[in-house]
Structures are given as C-alpha cells and as structure tokens.
C-alpha cells in the first residue's frame, strides 16, 4: 500500500462507455490489487482494479457509470492524480497450472494484467470474456496475443451467444483453477457451477485499506473486508 502521485500519460476511449487511463509513477502492484483514485471535486476516492502494469506504468480500464467516472473522461495527459496504490490481496497466481480467466464486462480489466502475468511466466491462460453486445467488447486483440480467448455476448452480436458461465456449462474447457471478475450474478452462477477458483468482488468503500468496515461482507468463514482480506476471495467462501 502506498500513497502516490500518478501522472496521466493517456486517457483513451475504447468503446461508447469504456476508457483506458494510463499513468506513470506507480510502484509495483500485484495482479488483482486495486487503486483508489482521488478525483478533484469528489470526497471519496474511486476504486479501480490494476488493469495492466509494467515499469512504473499503470493502466486502469473503466466504464462510465456515474459522476466520478464521467469526470475522469475529461482528464488529459499530464494531469497529476493522488492515489492509494497496491490495495487489497490480489490473485493467488500460484494456484493454477492451467488457468481459466472468466470475466464479465469491465470485470475483464484485472484479468488482463493477470493474463500478462501468466504469459510472462510462459503460461498461456484460457479466457472466457462475456459482454452485453458487440459494441461493449474490449481488449479482444490484446487478450488474443497472450491467451486463448472466447468472447461471448448476451445478444449474440459477437462470438458465442450467451453469457460466460453458460459457455462454460455447454463447452468442455480444460483448466484446473479459475480466476473471475464481473457482475455479482455472473459470479454467483459461476461459483454454483464450480468452486475451484477465486472471484474478485466489489463493494462501496469508505477507505479502501481496512479502517472503516464500510466494505465488510459476510463469508462462510465470517466477516471479511473486501478492501483488505479481498477483493479476491475463494469461490467456496463467498455467499453471493
């Protein structure tokens, strides 16, 4: 965990509502960890998963859902932002020999850095990435370079027609352990389908580093803070 001043180097539109913001000046962060970005004019910082990282350069992939993320779209390269970096536990990458990465919507964001991490160690993960529609698909080319990716869309406008979990149920995908991030309903169906994996959760946060109990969820092993013991939890442990 660090408090750092990050400098925006790029802020690019990916789709009608998704953007990639890249910063320099970030200390090393783990796949599955998150950052809290302090935005001018907002009291609470906004949490985002580490979407990509190398040599001090951090990328977050974000979707515009409210005022804060809307304000982010107008930030320009050169602007400095105060941030807490390296928050949360991160993915336990040592657990998989044949990793499967399951993402829904912007939930694919932290999985991209995870896929890169596997690729850097000579492991080619399988990725199943679900989106609402073709116009929502992000990072397809980037994933394809380092993983075997299947894209699914709810309306069938690109790739498999259906969601990521229905794809897994209807196709034999080889893996020994999965890493998932996405909407709660997706994670719920996924953990009902298989518990050999871990899921990254979201919660509204007060602090992001374990001080306020704002993000405490009840798990099968008692209350846990999404920002501290999480955001990544054992699939067998979460109650969704």
């Amino acid at each position: 965990m660090k408090k750092e001043t990050l400098k925006i180097t790029a802020n690019e539109r990916l789709t009608h509502d998704a953007f990639a913001m890249t910063f320099e000046g970030c200390s090393r962060v783990k796949p599955g960890s998150f950052v809290e970005l302090s935005l001018d004019g907002f009291f609470l910082a906004r949490p985002f998963g580490a979407g990509d990282y190398s040599d001090g350069k951090l990328t977050v992939f974000y979707r515009v859902v409210g005022e804060g993320t809307e304000a982010m779209t107008s930030l320009k390269a050169g602007k400095e932002i105060s941030a807490l970096t390296g928050l949360g536990n991160g993915f336990r990458t040592e657990r998989a020999k044949r990793p499967l990465l399951v993402g829904g919507g912007l939930g694919v964001a932290p999985l991209y850095y995870l896929a890169e991490d596997f690729a850097s160690r000579g492991v080619r993960p399988t990725v199943v990435a679900g989106f609402r529609s073709a116009r929502d698909v992000i990072l397809r080319k980037e994933f394809a370079a380092i993983s075997d990716i299947v894209v699914t869309t709810d309306d069938g406008t690109e790739g498999y027609c259906g969601n990521a979990v229905s794809y897994l149920k209807n196709n034999s995908v080889e893996y020994d352990y999965y890493y998932a991030c996405g909407p709660t309903v997706m994670l719920k169906y996924l953990t009902e389908f298989d518990v050999k994996g871990e899921v990254s959760l979201e919660a509204r946060m007060g602090c992001g580093f374990g001080a306020c109990m704002g993000c405490s969820i009840m798990t099968r092993s008692g209350p846990k803070r999404v920002c501290k013991e999480g955001p990544v939890f054992d699939a067998a442990e979460v109650i969704l």
């Binding site: 965990m1 408090k3 302090s38 509204r204 602090c207 374990g210 001080a211 109990m213 704002g214 209350p223």
Partner: protein
Amino acid sequence: MNTFCGNKDTRTELFGYTLKNPVIPASGTFGFGYEFADWYDIDILGSISLKGTTLEARYGNPLPRIADCPAGLINAIGLENPGVEKVVSRELVKLDKVYKGKVIANVGGHSFEEYTRTAAGFNRADKVFALELNISCPNVKGGGLAFGTDPKVVEELVAAVKEASVKPVIVKLSPNVTDIAALAKAAERGGADGISLINTLLGMRIDLRTARPIISVKRGGYSGKGVFPVAVNMVYAVSEAVALPVIGMGGVSSARDVVEMMYAGASAVMVGTANLVDPYACKNIIEELPALMEELGIDKLTDIIGRAHNA
C-alpha cells in the same frame, strides 16, 4: 517521550493522563489502530479511540454502508466489531506492539446491561486509560430511539456505567438533538468525567437512477469536512455548559481545525473521516501543529483551550 516540537509545547492532559499532542483518531475511522502502522509510525499520536465495541461480536448492517457526499460521507456500519472479549485479548495485544501510549475504548450498546457489561469488560485492560460512551446507539427497549436524545436516560446510563467501570468515562454526544448543552449537563449529573462531540449527523443520499436510498438501511451518519462548523458551534456550547474537559471532533482535517476546536473549548481533538480519505491525515496534522503555533504566537497548546469564550 518527545513532547516538545521545537520550542512548542503540544502536550495536553485528560484525567491525569498526558498526551504528547491533542490529536486522537476518532472511533470507527481507525480500526483498532494497528491497521495504520502500515502507513506510518503511529506512536506520534496523542492517543487513539478504538472502534466501537459491544458485548458480543456484531457483523453490522448489510452493504452498501457508505455513501459519498460533496464534503464528507454517510456511514451506516452498524457497529461491526469482534466483541469486548476479543478486543481485549486480541486487538489490544496487536495494538500494543505498534503503539506505546494508552488508548480510549469506545463502548456501544443496545441496553443498559450491554453498556455496563461491555464497560466492565475493559476494567482490567491497562492499555485503556478512559472509556468513551457512544450514546447514539438505538435503545432497543426504548423503542429504538437513540439513548443520547433523552436527558433522563443519559443521566441514568452514565451513572450505571460509572458504577460498573473503574475507568474515567467520556460521554460522546449525538448532535441529532435540539439542545445538546442539556444532554451534556445530564451526562455531568450522571458522573461523566468528560464529554466528546460530535458524533455523526443523520443523513441520507438517494440514487438518481433507482430512486432508492444508497445506504441499505436508508439513513446513516454524515461526517467529514462539511460538518466542521456545526461541530465547532456545539463544542463551544457544551464547553460553556459543563465544567468537564471536552474533546472536540467533527470534520477536523487540518492543524488549523485543531486550533479552532481548542479555541472553542476542546482539551483534545479527534480526527475521524479525514483518516479515511488520507491515511496520513493525523500525521500531517501533528507535523503541521508547531509551525501553526509559531504563526499564531502560541507557545503552549493548553493555554488556548476555550480562548474564544473570552472574546
């Protein structure tokens, strides 16, 4: 102990215990303290007010528990804590490794019995130099209305806790009342050793997309920068009404706010929500204090307590 910063004396005192400076992280915003040792050496703190503790472990309210506001936040944690026994046997032990000073245990409850038994649970904890009674909790037997809104209930509750506890008792007042001075006086009659204020102001945010309150239990407590003037006014009023030491809080985010609170009558100052948006908030405030004292011509911080009342 480093009590002098340059030639400035930042010490203050509560019930015979000397704090090296008046800055105390407020209950519920600093966990059980040790979480912040990952950010900085927390030994610099005047003291620490621990997370509100109840008799048994509590999970608290469903999520969402937090809502963002323009100059603060609303929380409805619901007093999540591991229960007094574990706080004493586990949390205080962990804290002792990273903080040498003594701390304030914050006690919550939903009945007289729960308050008194929880308070007694700290009797043998040497790490604790005082209790802080959070009387903003709903009184289950009293129809769910907060204990802290009825002077008669407050007086009796404080008297009961005083009897059960061997520690000095600070009564933490709720600002959600029409006459806070009357409640301070009731606490004084009940035997309180000190008063702290303010707890959070009732507040609500509604999601424009769903037209539903953001907080799961609809309303929560508003705190942070935006409540500072409300808090200064109440600290001023209470320190005029009682002869007890007062600990001021509510929106404090800078050394300037600390001095303002002390002018209003505070002997020490708690910093809450500011810690959540900047983990270094208390450290920065403590480090800014000597230079600010120099700027304002203050040599000894205790000289300024209540100075605004002479104006």
